[in-house]
Amino acid sequence: MTLAYLVIFASFLLFGLSVVLALAWALSNGQMKNFERGATAIFDPDEPIGIATDSFPSTRWHAERFEGPLNE
């Protein structure tokens, strides 16, 4: 039982410490600066802003509007 309490207490400390360290790292690493760049980090030249990347397959709308493979 004492061991269990020790494990829990140590994990509380480690957990709290890891959150503080994560936040400190994020601040020092510039993760909290330039939010505009952050918001667009998931886009790239092949899937840029303004291009939808999903659609209902097999609908007439889909068939009429979707172009062929990029490398053709």
């Binding site: 939808a52 659609s55 709308w61 172009e67």
Partner: protein
Amino acid sequence: MSEMTAPAVHAAADRQVFARQRAAIDASARLPVLGFFAGAVFWLLVGTALALLASIKLHNPEFLDSAPWLTFGRVRPAHLNTMAYGWASQAGLGVLLWLMARLARAELCHTRLLIVSVAVWNVGMLAGTIGILAGESTSIEWLEFPPFAPPFFAIAFALIAVSAMVTFRNRRECHVYVTQWYLIGAVFWFPWLYTAANLLLLYTPVSGVSQASINWWYAHNVLGLWLTPIGLGAVYYLLPKVLGRPIYSYQLSLLGFWSLALFYNWAGVHHLIGGPLPAWLITLSIVGSGMMVIPVITVAINHHMTVVGNFRQLRYSPTLRFIVFGAMSYTVVSVQGALQSLRTVNEVTHFTHYTVAHAHLGVYAFFTMIMFGSIYYIVPRLTGWEWASGRLISFHFWTTAVGVALYFLALTFGGWWQGLEMNNADVPFLTIVQKTLPYLRARSAAGLLMAAGHLAFAVLFTLNLLHFGERRSGPTLFVERPQEADLALTVEPAGS
């Protein structure tokens, strides 16, 4: 912000580099992620069958009552655990690993370890479920698996965490996107919660009411610190990707993450309002529940404002339709949860079907619908094969959406009325039980609808794995590309 508003024109060579990078990442994630999804779909069907059985038994107690393993006391916890760890957690793990690799712009690491973890996780599921049905349940809600099962999940999760964190360490993208914060949170929080709760409840059990407080600290956090971060993380990635539009306010999204990290952990003990616990402990959890309004509102504003102007896209995109439904449900379930934690409300709703409706609004209408949407987006990119039928996806959406709405409304109204009556000492208990029957029958009807949707989903998933139907030219990654002018998307962030 003007440079963000028009679709940028890039050289074909540039595009190819990124397309190939994405294809390589998807190839690395293929086996483990599809393995987790396959396990998830299997346990979704098992959990659905157990759910229907449990639901029918509440209004027809004699239904299949001859075998002990089919009695309500075993079927109900088996349903909860197969859904929580078999379906929700495995679907979440698949989505988490794929998102982690995509956002790091790095191939998924240690995929062989991940394949082992898929096997270990599912062996644990099978052993645990058989254990519950054999009558070995621990009777601790959300941790009913017998003590021989949790080590399987702990080992599997250790392997998964190693892969996820090494992939993160190898990242090529220097910015840690908000989704990654949520995913890293989930990777750290879940093993901590799970091992601490198992250690203190199953292996070296604490005594008295401490058991109940640890039980509900754990059970509530499974939703809030394990499923919620994965669900919200997926929305923060898929919503902008599907719409081709950055998130409305990136600052708000980070505020939402850090406030969730700060407040959610305190909320679980509100499940024990009225119980023999120190009043300060319960009051503290009520305050924590109330504070949750902050992350919920930030998320709700962000999601809504990102979609504003593009709601007609819901007609076309299966992913968008499911995740928007899930994101809206998140707002409703969270605000409802905060209100429900107030003592005056809880006096009525506690020990009624109202709580069951709330739980399904969270794990099903919010999390499960987001997982469906995510799987519709991810799987074609892994298999290189499109979904067999848009109509069947539509059937899946409407059966599950109408099903869970009916489920929620029936049990919410029935449960509230049940609570009011139970607080009235003049009404005999049996009269109340009899009057809940119509609501319970409505629940079974809703369950049948959802079960039909799950079958359609399982058929679609299997057909996709088998590459059923006509092959489309080129990989899914390239085929799924709308003509920009035809789509006429509103790309300018609403806040700019």
